[in-house]
């Protein structure tokens, strides 16, 4: 996805990657999140990207320019950061405990969203409204 020079391939790789990630969620007993993830990121986001790609490129030509020249430098940089994260992951005493999560989390999530996380939900609704207004404003014909 990152390295391909063809936007089409990149998008397909992206969809594949994100489907894989939703698989990981299922492994982590987060079935609800997996569904949401497929709905939002795999379907909706890909559609957005595809629309963007179609508008901004001539349909036949999905070639995208070569990466910037210092790509090895940046690769080294990322690698360094990766090693740092690796050390961090294995050195840190993460908090562990026995999980009480059952196989179906939908009900629990729903309950806590309308009790302890009610306020964030409201704020997110305002947030989504503003995103809607903003997108509408930006896309509107001048």
């Amino acid at each position: 996805m990152i390295l391909s020079n063809n936007l089409k391939h990149s998008i397909f790789a992206f969809i594949a990657t994100f489907t894989g990630i939703s698989g990981i969620y299922i492994f982590l007993i987060a079935d609800f999140l997996a569904i949401v993830h497929i709905l939002l990121n795999v379907v909706a986001f890909s559609i957005l990207i595809i629309i963007g790609a179609i508008i901004t490129n001539k349909v036949s030509d999905f070639k995208i320019p070569e990466p910037v020249k210092q790509k090895y430098l940046y690769a080294g940089f990322s690698l360094l950061f990766f090693i740092l994260l690796l050390i961090l992951i294995f050195i840190t005493p993460w908090k562990t405990g026995k999980s009480e999560l059952t196989n179906y989390t939908i009900k629990a999530i729903g309950e806590s969203i309308i009790t302890s996380y009610l306020m964030p939900l409201e704020i997110v609704s305002i947030f989504l409204l503003s995103a809607l207004v903003g997108t509408a404003y930006l896309i509107r014909k001048r």
Binding site: L33, F82, A131, L138
Partner: protein
Amino acid sequence: MNSLYTYLLVSAILFCLGLYGVTIRRNALLILMSIELILSSANINLIAFSRFGALSLDGQIFALFAMVITLAQAAVGIAIILNVYNTFRTINIDKLDISRNK
């Protein structure tokens, strides 16, 4: 295999790949996708910690909100990118230049 460290490792790989993509790519859409990758790595982290570490659903809920917010931002982002495309006829962010003609 099915331990916390595996998932953290996967998420770290995704994070660094995303970072690498952001730094080397010049196509706006690809940058957006790379950033999305970083965000899902954070989500994996959250859910994995929620599964193995903490005894609560907090992490999952955080991840849920994060997904929704990210998607909304991506929508705004695409709108901005389309606007840029309308003005400059390119979405290569290195080629954006005030003096460039339409």
